[in-house]
Amino acid sequence: MADNGEPRVGVYVCHCGFNIAATVDVEAVRDEAATRPNVVVARDYQFMCSNAGQDLIKQDIDELGVNRVVVAACSPLMHEPTFRAAAEEADLNPYLVQIANIREQCAWVHDDRQAATLKAESLVNGAAARVALHEPLDPMYAEMNPATLVVGGGIAGIQAALSISDAGNDVYLVERKSTIGGMMAKFDKTFPTLDCAACILTPKMVSADRRDNLHLMTMCEVESVEGFVGNFTVKVRQKARFVTDACTSCGECLNVCPVNVPDPFNEYVSTRHAIHKAFPQAIPSTYVIEKQGSPPCMEACPIHQNAAGYVALIADGRFEEAAKLIRKRNPLPFVCGRVCYHPCETACSRGKVDDPVAIRGLKRLAMDWERENVADPEPPPAKHDYTEKVAVIGSGPAGLTCAFDLAQEGYQVTVFERHHKLGGMLAVGLPDYRCPPEIVERDLDYIRKTGVEFQTEVELGKDFKLADLLGNEPGFGFGAVFMALGAHRGLPLRVPGEDAEGVILGIDYLREINLGRPQPTGKKVAVIGGGNTAMDVARTARRQGAEVAILYRRTADEMPADLEEVEGAIAEGVKFDYLVSPLEVVLENGRVTGLKCITNELGEPDESGRARPVPIAGSEHVRKFDMVIPSVSQQPFRTWYKGGIPEKGQIGFTKWDTLIVEPDSLQTGVPGVFGGGDVVLGPASIVEAMGQGRRAAEAIDKYLQGKPLEDFTTHVAPPDPVRGFVKAPYEHGPTYDQIEKMPRARLEARDPRARLADYETVDFGLTEEQGIREASRCLHCGVCVECQSCQNICPPDAVRLDMKDEIVELEVGQILVATGFKSFDATRMTPYGYGRYDNVITSAEFERMLNSTGPTGGQILCKNGKPPRSVAIVHCVGSRDENYNRYCSRVCCMAALKFAHLVKDRTDAELYEFYIDMRAFGKGYEEFYLRVLDEGANVIRGKVVEVTPAKDHNGDGGHLMVRAEDTLIGRFREIPVDMVVLMGAIEPQPDADKVGRVFSLSRSPDGFFLERHPKLDPIGTTTDGVYVAGCAQGPKDIPDTVAQAQAAAADILGMIAKGEVIIEPVRATVQEHLCGGCKTCLSLCPYTAITFAEDGNNAVVNQALCKGCGTCVAACPAAAITGAGFTDEQILAELDGILSPLAQEVAT
C-alpha cells in the first residue's frame, strides 16, 4: 500500500504467555487501541517476540501500509531491538517503532486486573499518539577502537586480557596493587580438584607479562572515563613504585631496609620490609617501595632532613650510615644535633602515643659516633665545575648552607664574615655551653672541604660595598650575592634610663662574652624577655657569677623559649618573675640601682593568639638590680646600605628593617642579589635560616644558569607540620592507642653547680644502647622512612625515591571491570571473638597459613607454635545473616571442605564443620563433599552461637569452646577446639561506590555491580561498552569467574570484529532560525557539545559530542533545540494519550 506520509499505526499487544495476559485483559487493550486516531490495525498475540509475532508486524507493514508500530509488551530495554529489527526487515525505519511497557510496569506490578487493564490501555494510547509523530532517524556509526581496558588483575582480568590479546588486540590490564594475580594468588589449593592455585595461576600471569600487546599497568587506578562505546578516553593514575623496571629482583635491598610492617599479602599475620615484592612469583617481578605519604618529621623540617631515615638506621645499630644520611641534607649536623629547635619532634607521631622520639639527641649520637669512628669524612665531589663566583655575606646558618649547596653544585663560593670567628649567631649569639666552638668548627671543616673560601673581618658597607661584589674589580666579580647578614641589632626597651652604664642589650652581651672581649657582669642582673636569647643571657650571666632574675610580661605558658632552656635556667638558679613589665631604669649617680616595674594581668588575646598583658594600675614598684639586660627582640642592621645599584635596582626594607625579597626565589630588588635567614625572617631559628639558605642556593643556581626563577623543588615546611597520620602511623598499622607506651630517653645532664663553673656542654649525649632503644620508638610513619639504604645498595640502581605519580591517558573501545571483592571483616561479628582470641582466624588468614610461601611455610599452627588438636570451621560468617549480608557467598562451603581436607591431610586434628546448608552445587563438588566426609570430618548442621575461651587441661593457653545448636539432633552442643576458622563472606570492594561512578555502573542492593540482565546478559552493564566479570558482579568461585571473564572477552571480541558501533541517533539539534542567541544552553551541556556561532549569532550542537540527555532541549527558552526521538511534541503526545479518557469511560 502506498505511503502518502499519513501515519498508519499498527498496535500489537503481547500476551507473553500468562505473564501479561494473566493480569491484563489483552483483548480489551487491543480493542481500546483500535479506537485511537491513526490506528489502522490492532492485534494481540501469544508471543510477539517470536518469529511468528514479528511476522505479523512485517506482514501488516507490507499489506496494510502500516508505517508506525506500537508493541505493547515487555520493557523496551528487553525487546525494543527485536521489534526495531523486524520493522527494518520490512523496510520501515526502526525508529518508527514504540514500545508500551505493559509487562514490567503494568502486569507484573498490579494485581487488580481491572486497574491493570485500564492502565495498559492508557499506556498503549500514549505510545500510539507518540509514534504517530515519530520521524525516521538514521542511526549513527562510530569506529570501534579495538584496544580494550581491563580493570582488575585478578584471575578474571587476567583471563579476559589473555583472550582479547590472543585475538591480536591491544589490552591494558590495570591493577592497583603491585602485582597481578588477585585473590587467587593467595590461595594454596583450589577445590574440588585440589590443584595448586599457584601452579595453575602463575603460567597465566607469566603469559600476561610476555605479550607485546598486553600492557600490564600495576599500581594503577582509573581516575576518569570519558566518551562512549568504541571511543573511551580513560585517565589512569600510575602510582609511584619507586623502583624502575631495571630491578633484577635480586633482593639485596631486603637486607638493608630497616622498616618492618605487617604484610597485607599475608593478611597482616607476618611482617615485611618497606621495599618488597608481594610474593615470590609476583608479576611484574619488580620490587616496590610502600610509601604512604612522607614522614611528618621530615615534612616539618625546613631542610627536609630525613629524620625517620636516620632514626631507623640507628635503631638497626647502623650509626655510620645514619651519619652519612644526615650529612646528605644537612651542612651543620653537629650544630643541629645540639641546638636545633627540632620541629621534627613537634610533628612526631610518637607524641600521640607518649612522647616524641628524641630525634635531636639521636642526631647528636650519630654525629658523635662519626667523630669518634670516622677519621675524615669527605663530602661528595661537586656535581659540576662552574667558573661563576658567588659571594655569601655572613657565615651564619643561612650563609653556610647556601655556600655549601652552591659549592656542591660546582660554583666558586666566597663567604665574607665581619667577625674573626665564623658561624654568625652560632659563634656570637649562642653561648658555648649550648653550641661548643669545637662543634661549629667540626661542621665548618666539612664545609671547607667543599672548596668554600672564607674571608673574615671584612664588613659590608665598611670594607666593601654591594656594588663592588657585582663589579669587576680584582677580588670581586661575583655573578650573584647571597645576603645572610643576620639580625644582630638588639631592640631597646624604650624606657627612661636605658642609656646608662649597666644596661646592655642581650645580643651585645652575648657577643662580647662569646668573642672573649672584656665584658663586666653585675652582681644582681635583670634579664628582660622570655625568648631563647633571654635564657642564653640569663644562664651566661649565672656563669659569670651573677644572681639573675628573668622578668617576663606574661606567664610561663606564653613564654616562647624552648622548654629545655627554661628548665636548664631554673636548674641553674635563674629566678623567673612573670607578669612584670619594666617602666624605668632607676639610676643613682648614673649607675643602675634598680628597675621600676609594673605588675600585669592577662587580658584578651592579641593577634599572635597569646593573652595580652594588661598593667594593673597602682602596682608600680622598684626592684633592686645593678645590671639590666633587655633581651626582647632583634632586628637586622641596615646602616650598611647606602642605596642600591643605579642601573640594576634598589633593595627594599620592611619597617622592621628586614629585606624585602620575592617569596619563592628570595631575590631582592637587585637582580642577582638574594637574601635569607634572619635578615629576611627577623630573629628565627637555625634550621629555618638553613632552609632559606638552601632555597637561595637553588635560586642562585637557576639565576646563574639563565633559567627562570620558578618551579623550585627545595622543601618548604608547612606552617602546621602535624598533618595526616591521624589514627595510626600508616594504614593497617596499629592505632596509636594500641601501641605500647615506652618512655622517651632523657639526656643525662651535668650537675647544675658544676655547670656554672664553666661553659662546657650541659648534658651528655645518649649512649649507643640508649640510642638504639630510643630509635626503636619510631613508628615508621608512612612505612618507608627514606633512609636511602636500598638506593645506595641496589646493584642495577633501580631505586628512585623521588618518583612521582603520573597520569596516563588511554584510548580504548571497551572496558571490562573485574575489580574483585573484599573479605568480610570478622571483628564485626563479636560473639566469635576474632581479634580477641589468638586462635580464632579468618579463612583468608588460614589460606595464607596453608600456603608454602605463607607465614608458617604451609604448616597449620596455633599461635603458640604447636599444631592444633582440634579445629572448628564456621560457615556463613557474615553471609546468609540478616545483620550483615543476606546473600550466600557461594564459595565458602567448598572452601571450608577444602580446609577440612587439608587439616586432615597435614595434622592429626579432629575437625568440625558448622554449617547451615551444605552448598555443593558445581561439577565434582558433591563428590568432594562425600570424600571429605569419608576422611573423617565431623559436620554439624547449625549456626555457631559464640566462641569463648575454655579451660585448658593441658595448661597451655588459647583453648576455645565453640557453642552451637545441632539442628539435626536438636541439641545444644559445646565443642572444645584449639583453633577456629571463620569462613568470611565475600563483600563488594569498599570503594565499589566510587568505581561504579567512574564507569557509570549501577549496583544491586547487595552492593555488587549490576549486570544488564540477570539471566540473558550477566556480563553487560547499563553503560554500553562496559562489562563486568568475577566477584565484582557477585560472589562466585574460580570456574564461574573464569567463565564469566571468557564470556565478557567473547562479547568484547564480537564488538571489535564488527569494527563499528551503532550510536542511537538520540541527539539535540538547534533550529538556527529560532535560536535567539541567549547562550543558556552553553553552560548546561556537560560535554561542552554546544558552541556559539558568532557569525550566525546562534548555538550549534556538535553531534559527535552530544549524548542526547536533552537537558538543553528542556532549558531552551525559545524551544529552538529539538531532541531527536524525544521531541516536546512526542513527549506531550504520549502524555496526552496516557491521560485522555478511555473509550469505555467516554461511553459511560
Partner: protein, 151 residues
Amino acid sequence: MTTTTEAPLREPEVVTTEWRPRIVAFLCNWCSYTGADLAGISRIQWDPSVSIVRVMCSGRMDPTFVAKAFSMGADGVIISGCHPGDCHYQEGNYKTLRRVHLLQRLIAGFGIDPERLKLVWVSASEGDEWAATANEMAAKIRDLGPLEVRR
C-alpha cells in the same frame, strides 16, 4: 484472536464510577526506568494509578511538561532520576532539582498543591524504592483528591 478497526467495539464490561487518580511519572532511562523494571521483574506491587513516561535524563524535564500534565488531567506528577553524583549524563539531575524547586513554588501560585509534584532519586537497583515512591504518591494524591484547577 485478532481484530482490525473494522471489527465491532466490545461493550465495556466494567463501568467505573469511582474516581481514578491519574499520576504521570517521568523516569530517566538509566536509573529510574530500570529501577521500575526491576520492581516488575521482582513482582513488587505498586499502585496502578501511576503511569510512566520514559525520558533519557531527568534533565530533559521541560517545566511545561509538568504544567501540561496537570492541564491534561493529571492529579500528580513524579519526576525521578539518578541519585546525585550518579547521573548517566554527569549532572542532568542537578538541573532538574533546580527546576523542580522553582516549579513547586510556581504551581502553588496557580493554586496547585506543591505536593502534587514530587522529585525523587531512584537507582537501577532500587525497585523497592520505586514501588514505595509510587505508592506514597498515590496515597498522597488520594488524600488530596482530584485536581480541581484546570485551564
